[in-house]
């Protein structure tokens, strides 16, 4: 690990100065995450939502995911290169999952 910590030695300001969040903000985000989770479960449990359940659940969990990545993992405050790197992995993964779901769960219905 030490081989790569050298930048921070020489440039501590660049490395952390700008991307510190406050404790209050972190706690708020934690609370929001918990609330979103309960909303998800509520949507799952309440039968009235059955028709729109899947899209709502996907939107909510995407929101949770973005909150964690942006704030807990500091991507919002960090270098853009990291966002590009990570997002390309996420995009490819999402593409692969959806493509396979389409191939296996959607297309067979047309046969």
């Amino acid at each position: 690990m030490s081989e790569s910590t050298r930048v921070t030695d020489s440039k501590p300001d660049v490395a952390h100065g700008e991307k510190q969040g406050s404790v209050a903000m972190y706690v708020w985000i934690g609370v929001i995450l918990a609330v979103l989770t309960f909303v998800e479960v509520a949507v799952y449990l309440i039968e009235a939502f059955e028709a729109v359940e899947v899209p709502i659940l996907i939107i909510l969990s995407t929101a949770k995911l973005i909150l964690v990545v942006m704030y807990f993992m500091h991507l919002k405050m960090d270098h853009r290169a990291l966002t590009w790197l990570f997002m390309s992995g996420v995009v490819l993964a999402v593409f692969m999952v959806s493509a396979l779901i389409v191939l296996y769960q959607v297309l067979p219905r047309f046969h």
């Binding site: 690990m1 030490s2 081989e3 790569s4 050298r6 290169a81 790197l85 390309s88 992995g89 490819l92 593409f95 692969m96 493509a99 396979l100 191939l103 297309l107 067979p108 047309f110 046969h111």
Partner: protein, 612 residues
Amino acid sequence: MSTATIDQAHAGHSTHDEPTGLWSWITTVDHKRIAIMYFITATFFFFVGGVEALIIRMQLWNPEQSLISPELYNQLFTMHGTTMVFLVAMPMAVAFFNYVVPLQIGARDVAFPRLNALSYWIFLFGGIYINLGWFIGQAPHASWVGYSTLTSSAYSPGLNTDFWFIGLSIIGIASIAGGVNFITTIVNMRAPGMKMMRMPLFTWMTFVTSFLLITAIPVIAVALIFLGFDRTFGSVFFEPAMGGDPVLWQHLFWIFGHPEVYILILPAFGVISDVIPTFSRKPLFGYPIVVYAGILIGFIGWGVWSHHMFTVGLGPIADSFFVAATMIIAIPTGVKIFNWIATMWGGSVQFTTAMLFSVGLLAVFTVGGLSGIMHASAPVNLQQHDSYFVVAHFHYVIVGGAMMGLWAGLYYWFPKVTGKFLDETLGKWHFWTTMVGFNLTFFPMHFSGLFGMPRRIYTYSAELNVDLYNQLSTVGAFIFGISALIMAWNIYRSARRGAPAGPNPWNAATLEWSIPSPPHHYNFPEIPVVRSREPLWNAGEREEVLAVTMPDPAEEPVMPVPSYWPILLAFAITLAWALVMTGIWWVIVLGIVPVFFCVLMWAFEPAFPEGH
């Protein structure tokens, strides 16, 4: 007489300050030494895979011949494919990544030198492991794609497939580590002024390839884990009787496998994108277009995997989608080819061996690309899939593309690595025997395929009337084998007695030629400042820094210290994976302990000398 000249020419900077001996190679973290080890190992495996191919060709000399047993034949073609893809083409490209990329971007080393060493050792141990099956007569035998259910315990009850899936997953770790390393190096370690759009094309293609490595390898890793669970712990991922789907293996394999094709070919594209401008004395035509085309090929390469599966029966909608996506890839590939020709157009083309191989790539890769368009058409694919036509196609792409490009790179960068030229006369012999042997081997396969010879068959019926084509192929294969011997002899002889090459023997434009050949172990006495895409061609005009004219630094730059943890950790990882073969859960868990230990020791060992 020449020896004296060389000694004189290189006195003072060759290796006087570097440790020598076996131990120094085992513990090295120097990207240049790791590159040399990669190259030698890959060349060794090239000969192993080549001998396998020659035995296959001898067995196919006559119809209904039985020179060897079918079981041995299956092992041979399985290991030929596995070896050539995972132990030759990939690591040989990685050898060039390692040697050239830090030099091209003006860095002293890669971002993670010890991780780099770890990659090499894992690759070496994985490569040895996957070949261990030969010694007990149970080499992998289910083809390099390992289609389920042929790999299940029911149809492959021996250890054959265990060697295969364990060896491949070990090598996968090395590839992911390498990919992470090169992305970090290229994003983070460029010299001042080396903007992304000033990077040499080889570095660019390394970047794209690394990206494909880190994204594609995890998919095959998971597929191999599924296979391992099925074989070892009785899970039912690929067990049709339990609702599992063998075709899922094919999806996962080719989601990895198609990007893998670009992992093989893009480095070669990178090499010739550097070689062609050098020997045309012109900058690359349409630099940004060539870069974007490379990125585009990499990305679209993710959406085309099922064109390997047109016969599987995915239905017309899926087939059409993959037809369209696949054909789109032809466009950026074509753009690249036209840009290379345009680079030579109006230039002053010198036919060095490196240039010959680059031009040879353009000529024969195009053939492979075009037969690829035929397969991309799903209905035509139904006739050509799994026939020798496909064998011809992908050898035109991988040998005529990837390997030709890497050999161009060999002749191009050898002077940088050793300070000596590869012999040009032998080089031309190498090139022409390669061209003759290669085309004679693989061109007739188009016909044997069109006339109905399936691939992966131990022998063929005399009625097919394809014996003539097979005999041509066999003759060609032996000529091709001779060309490889010429290459090996050339490397051996030139490394010892080659004509001395100065820092920039080809009058090339990129940073690696600004330093002595071979370079200092710290590469650049002072990190250069880059102001254009061809820093050395514009030197003098635009205040480029020519490091070769710099004095040696008064104080040696701080370099990472050698370490033996990479080789130990690599061994621990190999051992841990190998223990999976026992199928006893507590042995497998125990096997993880040395891995943890080595990781800890690695983490606490300082990578740089104390005090820095």
